[in-house]
Amino acid sequence: MSMERYILSRVIQIIIIFFIVMSIIFLLFRVIPSDPTSFLLTPSMTAEAKEAIREQFGLNEPIITQYYLYFKNFFHGNFGNSFYGGRSVMNIIKERMLNSIFLVTTAVILSYIIGITVGKAIAWKRGSKTEKFFVGLGLWFYTMFTPWLGILFLWIFAFKLHLFPLGGMITSEVWIANPSLIEKICDLIHHLILPLITYVVLWFGGYMLLMRNSMLETLREDYIITARAKGLKEKDIRDKHAARNALLPIVTAFAISISFSITGAVLIETVFSWPGIGRTIVEATLRQDYPLVQGAFAIITIVVLIANFIADIAYAYLDPRISY
């Protein structure tokens, strides 16, 4: 099968999964709550407002029509309005999602690079004290309770040493004064560093251990003996022959790690009061702001699906053997 057909078949699969997941969300919000309309209506609304929403989402219609309207509204980007403040859910999500992606992608890329580099190096020096130290360290951070490490960092670096702010993404006093762009960026980075470090410390261990195991498997392959027999330089054997092949399973793991990093995002954003999608879904659920919960969950799922798709394609490019 050609690459194009492979991509097409993956796209179709993902679209099917997307519809199934969206249907599950639809059912979750309509079947489980005691009052099936509660996910869109709140007692404090005026009678007219209630009627308008009933109209828009077809709450008086049979469930099949509701299902149709649900998707229709979804594709028009209409998730209704938040119960709190009445803002359009879509606008809130857009803004929060951007904040999350900014933090999470920076963190994932950094921990990926650090994890792979260290993992490669310690696999090459297997059996050494350095290897044991890093394996222990990686395991410890990998299983550490995310919010706790975040709180510890806040306590030490923000509360005790006053090096960083105690949370948030920007200092509003600074931004109200209408500063220059550079000042704005510096303020943002100042807020970003602590959550970012927490992320990286927690995650590099996982990638590092994965890369180490994968390298150790690869180093036993016959082509490594060939590479040595050819008289290649140590560095070339390690980087071009061993690490290149060892990377393949790491790419697959990337798809899984996306889901994992969203879990991390929910916790870290809560600890650092980062206005991202993870914190949004927690707060909205606690307030029973159902339109926002539903919208946020749908968007997170879509992002995970897209990330899975990208990982699949990357794998196909990296491994010429793949039978699409």
Binding site: I17, I20, L28, I151, S259, T263, L267, T270
Partner: protein, 294 residues
């Protein structure tokens, strides 16, 4: 025959004893086990003061630091933090192990069935696993517990297991697929052994090492996710888990003022999760000796 089996068990035991990872992991677990057992003894001396949920020390106002009466201090309304910590270890053990047993059992059975029968059974089960794996775990758990309204540890147990089995079943399935082609399965089939017997007698023992590995690492996952849920405020309010201790510390404004309150629960969660994972890594090295230096 029996003697041979005995020898195999001896060999496995020697390997386990030789693993630093497993020894360290088991030692930590024993410490927490003692804590869990000690919990009722500590509380029953005076439940009115020491009960982790309803007990309050009337002499204490606000959170106070460690003292003889309260070795770890008290929380914001004068509850004993040490009894909360002890109770937390009970919950972590029970929940972690139950989720792990439940999801590993489901995962192993589904993996064996999908891998052995193949075709439509395989497609349906694995697509289902794919869909659950695609759903972001923590947000899903948050949304489900939000919709259920009141949370209880039983619901948390069920929904945690629901999100953990697919990973295991995928690994078991791929193992089953390769086992299915082996001569001993072929010969069992040819000699007319029933499907159920082949799965139970021939396939299941061969995937057991992987099952054991997942049995331990899933405990880690379950402990961390449950703690995360409780920390975010979706825990069982009728009980006091470590995640909830940290949540109260964080939300009542004592987080930076009371390190005696903030440090122990997080440390316990991390250490217990770490210990189960260590055992998993130790098992992995025994099963897959390539990872270890000769």
């Amino acid at each position: 025959m029996k003697k041979k089996k005995w020898k195999l068990i001896r060999q496995i035991w020697d390997l386990i004893r030789g693993s630093t990872f497993i020894k360290l992991g088991v030692s930590i677990i024993i410490i927490f086990g003692i804590m869990a057992v000690f919990s009722p003894i500590w509380v029953n001396r005076n439940p009115e003061i020491y009960d982790p949920i309803i007990g309050v020390d009337p002499d204490v106002h606000g959170s106070e630091g460690p003292s003889l009466k309260h070795p770890l201090g008290t929380d914001y309304i004068g509850k004993d933090l040490f009894s909360q910590l002890l109770r937390g270890s009970q919950i972590a053990f029970i929940l972690g192990i139950m989720v792990s047993v439940l999801s590993t059992t489901i995962g192993t059975i589904v993996g064996l069935v999908a891998g052995y029968y193949g075709r439509i059974v395989d497609i349906i089960l694995m697509r289902l696993a794919d869909i659950i794996l695609t759903l972001p775990r923590l947000p899903l758990l948050i949304v489900i517990s939000g919709i259920f309204g009141t949370q209880s540890n039983w619901i948390i147990l069920l929904i945690l297991s629901f999100t953990f089995w697919p990973t295991i079943s995928r690994v078991i399935r791929s193992q089953t697929l390769s086992l299915r082609e082996r001569p001993f399965i072929e010969s069992a089939k040819v000699s007319g052994v029933g499907n159920r017997r082949i799965i139970l007698r021939h396939l299941a023992p061969n995937v057991l090492p992987i099952t054991f590995y997942y049995l331990t690492v899933t405990v880690t996952g379950a402990i961390l996710v449950e703690a995360g849920l409780s920390f975010l405020g979706f825990g069982d309010p009728s009980n006091m888990s470590w995640g909830m201790m940290l949540k109260w510390c964080f939300t009542t404004g004592y987080v930076f003022k009371a390190p005696y309150w903030m440090i122990p629960p997080g440390l316990c969660i991390s250490a217990l999760a770490f210990s189960f994972y260590l055992i998993g890594v130790g098992l992995e090295e025994i099963v897959n000796p390539r990872l270890k230096k000769r």
